[in-house]
């Protein structure tokens, strides 16, 4: 047995365990010196990424393959079809999210190198950074409900401490407190739902639960509690107030990973709704005349309404915001709205009997999942640019910025790329995914796509205004000696910008090779169940 096979076999565990090991060793290594620590951290992240790529190669080789990894034992299920040990179940959707997390992790570490250089407490900063990355991977790859909760807590605690990193600013500490309150409450909701499900079915594994679930009244409650807990973590509108604060006050390199964490929560919601609850969502709740009121319809309409509200509020608040990073954060809220709009539209249609409806639902899901990738890249790039502007000028208010394009050429170009991508303009990646979302929601209800397009245009207006006021405009004497940011920050932004342009130019390659397996994985939950617990 050669080493590559071994690596692939153990890869789901290693992807989480290596960053954890790195985090445990960072305080020891940083005793030696700072440079050694930086090299160590980047080495750990690159090693993890290499293993993710190996695993991705393995998963994409066979259609519909699920890599199941058992912790501490050899067989995933005992006789009778119940999993006692923790399983990691990696299918197309998991690996898709893991690839996003990989990009964010590499870019974030490269960026922090120069960005955080002047701060104290950097050994703990890198420890927490690696823990955040490890927690994100854990949330993404796990196949066990309680394990999901544990990793959720790791990410939320680590990111809370990093949001409040600049403790000399009251607002940063306040943002950290808001974040920890919301995420602790959300996580406890999730734990409560897990306990309800455990009490009913005596199982914690997602696949086993999916095979057992019957849809009683208690399951309904568990679903609502679970989804509302995850929605709190994902920043969907009634619970969005923590998000602009947290995104806006954290160091830009931390915000980048926070975007990934938010999307991991969104992934959790997708996994719970579509895989764990799966087919039982189409249970008929009530019958009025000839029309069956099905649960998925109610849930779908509810989610679509929330999504429209999220998009609308995000864009409106972004219009009147003056702080650079907070404004991008509100744009990020709106972008999350687009994803859950697609998910809601898919929920209303995908369980229907008609062939065209199923097609629409699958297309909406494709758009939504593709948009997860694009949103992470676009919003991430914008945050990095905002961080670079802060690094160069120590200024956050848009009213006082101006004329930066003269001194910061590359940053300006990256901002231009980011703003075109986030508002869905044709040569960039945002256009590709938003187009799919518009198309599919148009078939569900034309009004949805009209609102979505209008809000996207408003978003463009917001960013063009910012571009004009911060980067163009007359030369300001106080920014005369502003220099371009260091090379490692430019490299980090450059990596994301290159990926954005690549996806924008060849969306077909990405959709066919990466997004489509994820959509297949999510719509086919019987494959998931049978692959893990073996044809029961």
């Amino acid at each position: 047995m050669n080493i590559i096979d071994d690596l692939i076999l153990h890869s789901p565990a290693l992807i989480v365990a290596i960053p954890l090991l790195g985090a445990f060793l960072t305080p020891l290594i940083s005793k030696i010196n700072d440079k050694m620590r930086n090299i160590f951290v980047i080495f750990i992240v690159l090693l993890t990424s290499a293993i993710v790529l190996l695993l991705a190669n393995d998963i994409y080789a066979v259609c519909g393959k699920i890599h199941t990894y058992v912790f501490g034992g050899s067989s995933p299920v005992t006789q009778g079809g119940f999993a006692i040990r923790i399983l990691f179940e990696v299918d197309g959707l998991n690996i898709f999210m893991a690839l996003i997390a990989t990009i964010l992790a590499i870019v974030g570490v490269i960026y922090s190198w120069a960005f955080m250089k002047e701060n104290t407490g950097l050994d703990k900063y890198y420890t927490l950074y690696l823990l955040m990355i490890a927690g994100m991977f854990g949330m993404i790859l796990t196949g066990d409900m309680f394990n999901f909760f544990v990793f959720l807590e790791i990410t939320s605690i680590a990111s809370c401490a990093l949001i409040a990193f600049w403790t000399n600013k009251g607002k940063a500490v306040d943002a950290g407190f808001k974040y920890i309150v919301v995420s602790a409450t959300g996580a406890l909701f999730i734990l409560f739902a897990i306990a309800i499900l455990y009490g009913q079915y005596n199982a914690l594994n997602m696949a086993v639960l999916a095979s057992k679930i019957e849809f009683s009244f208690l399951d309904n409650i568990a679903l609502v509690v679970l989804v509302s807990g995850l929605a709190m973590k994902a920043g969907i509108v009634p619970m969005h107030m923590w998000l602009p604060d947290a995104y806006g006050r954290a160091p830009a390199s931390v915000t980048l990973i926070l975007v990934g964490v938010t999307q991991a929560s969104l992934y959790g919601a997708l996994r719970m709704i579509f895989t764990v609850y799966g087919d039982s969502l189409s249970t008929t709740l009530n019958q009025i005349g000839d029309i069956n009121i099905e649960l998925n319809l109610i849930l779908g309409i509810f989610i679509v309404a929330l999504a429209l509200l999220t998009i609308f509020i995000g864009v409106l608040m972004a219009l009147k915001e003056n702080n650079f990073k907070r404004m991008i954060a509100f744009a990020a809220v709106a972008e999350i709205g687009y994803m859950i709009l697609a998910i809601g539209a898919a929920l209303t249609t995908i369980f229907s009997a008609a062939e065209t409806d199923i097609g629409t639902g699958a297309m909406a899901l494709k758009g939504g999942i593709f948009h997860i990738l694009n949103d992470a890249l676009d919003v991430g790039l914008l945050f990095l640019v905002a961080g670079a502007v802060y690094y160069a000028t120590k200024e956050t208010s848009l009213n006082r910025l101006g004329g930066l394009a003269r001194n910061m050429k590359y940053t300006t170009i990256f901002f231009l790329i980011g703003l075109l991508a986030v508002s869905g303009m044709p040569p960039m990646n945002g256009f590709a995914s938003k187009l799919i979302i518009y198309e599919s929601t148009y078939q569900v209800n034309p009004i949805l796509s009209i609102i979505a397009i209008l809000c996207s245009i408003l978003l463009l207006a917001v960013f063009v205004k910012v571009f004009h006021s911060a980067f163009l405009g007359p030369k300001q004497p106080k920014f005369d000696d502003v220099k371009e940011v260091p090379k490692s920050m430019l490299l980090a932004m450059g990596i994301i910008a290159c990926i954005i342009i690549f996806i924008g130019l060849f969306p077909d390659i990405v959709v066919n090779n990466i997004v489509q397996p994820a959509v297949n994985a999510i719509t086919d939950n019987s494959n998931y169940i049978s692959n893990v617990i073996g044809g029961i």
Binding site: H10, A13, L21, F24, L25, L28, K31
Partner: protein, 165 residues
């Protein structure tokens, strides 16, 4: 917070070793009796916190720094995850056995016969393979971690300007 009165200090001096012994007992017998690394670690850490309350955070900070505690905690955590990693390497150790992350590699093997014993309700300490070792690693981690939290928070909220007795 500076030190408390002499009565408190004397009682602490008497109670401290007992608390330590009890905590270590709970850690060591984690696989046999109720308890384990977390619970025993919490007991020991509460004993240390008692010391902190009695003698004040400035005195305690003079004895041990949070950086040293942090290193101790790292060592404990590294021991734990290292034992978990050894499960993977089991396949190279004993031929023919497929090991996974977190495999209990000391049980059901015949290379180290002393650790091979299964629990039969007699309370033998060398049962359960790798579990007692993990208990110790976690215990060290919890002691250092909890005490570091308490120490740092106490030191940060100390009353400045109050002379220490």
């Amino acid at each position: 917070m500076s030190g408390m009165s002499r009565i408190v200090k004397t009682v602490t001096n008497v109670a401290f070793p007992i608390v330590m012994i009890y905590g270590l007992y709970v850690i060591a017998h984690g696989h046999l009796t109720p308890g384990g690394g977390f619970q025993g670690g919490a007991v020991v850490a509460s004993g240390l916190a008692m010391l902190l309350v009695a003698y004040g955070s400035v005195w305690t900070m003079g004895k041990i720094k949070e950086k040293q505690l942090s290193v101790l905690e790292s060592i404990g955590a590294f021991g734990f995850i290292g034992l978990a990693f050894l499960g993977i390497l089991m396949v190279y150790l004993y031929s023919g056995l497929q090991g996974n992350f977190f495999n209990n590699f000391l049980i059901n093997q015949d290379i180290f016969p002393i650790f091979n014993e299964l629990g039969r309700g007699f309370g033998n300490i060398n049962t359960a393979g790798v579990i007692p070792l993990m208990n110790f690693a976690v215990g060290l981690k919890v002691i250092a971690g909890l005490f570091a939290i308490v120490l740092v928070m106490a030191y940060a909220t100390r009353l400045k300007g109050v002379k220490q007795k």
